[in-house]
């Protein structure tokens, strides 16, 4: 998945199982492996495709994320991310003078999943990588018992507590659940003389404009945190209040390193007993 995976608390067998889990998910969901199930599904000519159980579960989670964020986290942006220039493994991306394109998003309501049977319009390309990594982090934590954590490229699931360094400095104790950061500090590239990034605004089909470089969210699990962090990033100035309205602690880093905590984050880290809702 193009990131390091850090695990604490698992024995050798658990570590092997977690390595296998990440490898399996990469084989299914990679956009850069020609034989991945994602690419085979996107290339299938018919409107109806049978998918694996793993694929169906991730797609269901992605569609639920779309419902919960009113379409901000959208699994139908496969063409848009390619149009922005992210068409190969990030390490192989080189500056490209041709202008970046866009592709319509917001078509997640046209996707229907019934068990392992998927129906979607011809030509619509799915990209489930908005949820796959955090879902896999949550699954990896379930591989071993007892206290520990699994961290992969900004996504973290914790059982039993862990102190976690935060973007822009500082740290917090994650006592339960997940912590995820979304932003544009990494995975940036040049296309048509403009810097691009991987967080696509479904309203425009182009990389989103946001005042934030990092948005960190604490959630019941890593998937919840990740989905909420992406949505809060895309919402820009409205992100902190959007998270507060849902009882989610969020921490925002602006362009010049200015850190903003929403009410729920401040309440959680305050020594004074207080509530954010």
């Amino acid at each position: 998945m193009g990131c390091d995976v850090v695990v604490a608390g698992a024995g050798p067998a658990g570590l092997d199982a977690i390595a296998g889990l990440f490898a399996e998910r990469d084989a299914v969901f990679s956009r850069f492996r020609r034989d991945s199930e994602l690419n085979r599904v996107n290339a299938a000519p018919g409107e109806i495709v049978a998918v694996s159980e793993t694929f169906a579960r991730a797609l269901h989670a992605a569609l639920q994320a779309a419902v919960r964020t009113d379409g901000l986290v959208d699994p139908t942006l496969g063409r848009a991310i390619v149009a922005a220039g992210y068409s190969r493994d990030f390490d192989d991306l080189a500056p490209d003078r041709s202008p970046a394109g866009s592709a319509a998003g917001g078509r997640w309501r046209e996707v229907l999943l019934s068990g392992r049977i998927l129906r979607r319009p011809r030509g619509l390309e799915l990209d489930l990588n908005g949820v796959v990594k955090s879902l896999t982090v949550d699954d990896a934590l379930g591989v071993f018992p007892g206290a520990g954590f699994v961290a992969a490229g900004g996504d973290l699931a914790v059982r039993g507590g862990a102190v976690v360094a935060l973007p822009g400095g500082g740290a917090a104790d994650v006592l339960r659940g997940g912590l995820a950061t979304s932003g544009t500090a990494t995975r940036r590239w040049w296309r048509g003389g403009r810097e691009q990034h991987h967080l696509i605004d479904p309203a425009t089909g182009r990389p989103a404009s946001s005042p934030w470089t990092h948005v960190t969210v604490s959630g019941r699990d890593c998937l919840t945190a990740d989905v909420a962090a992406k949505a809060a990033f895309l919402l820009g100035d409205d992100g902190p209040a959007w998270l507060d309205a849902r009882g989610l602690p969020g921490r925002f880093v602006g362009d010049h390193g200015v850190v903003l905590e929403n009410r729920c984050w401040s309440a959680a880290l305050s020594s004074v007993e207080s509530s954010c809702t």
Partner: protein, 90 residues
């Protein structure tokens, strides 16, 4: 004057011709009706000259809504020691 046998033969031919015409017209009509029905109900068919948006049943969307619990925060607190992990950027 035609013989009675020839008259009956001509009348039979006329009835056969009429029946063929009726059956032919019926077949053409039925074909047209079925073709229109198939065109309007097939997912890839076009009714406005452009592409037709697939409509996912509202029941599926509401099942996603019901199946997705509301967002719930995790539990965090002030750092109690040096960091063991970091949250970078996803």
């Amino acid at each position: 004057m035609d013989a009675p046998g020839e008259s009956r033969l001509a009348a039979g031919r006329a009835r056969a011709l009429t029946a063929k015409a009726v059956l032919g017209a019926g077949a053409i009509g039925a074909f047209a009706v079925f073709a229109l029905l198939a065109r309007s109900s097939h997912a890839s068919g076009s009714t406005h000259g452009g592409s037709v948006e697939l409509k996912t049943p509202a029941s599926f969307l509401s099942s996603l809504q019901q199946g997705s619990d509301d967002f719930e925060g995790g539990q965090i607190g002030p750092a109690s020691g040096p960091p063991q992990a970091s949250t970078g950027t996803s």
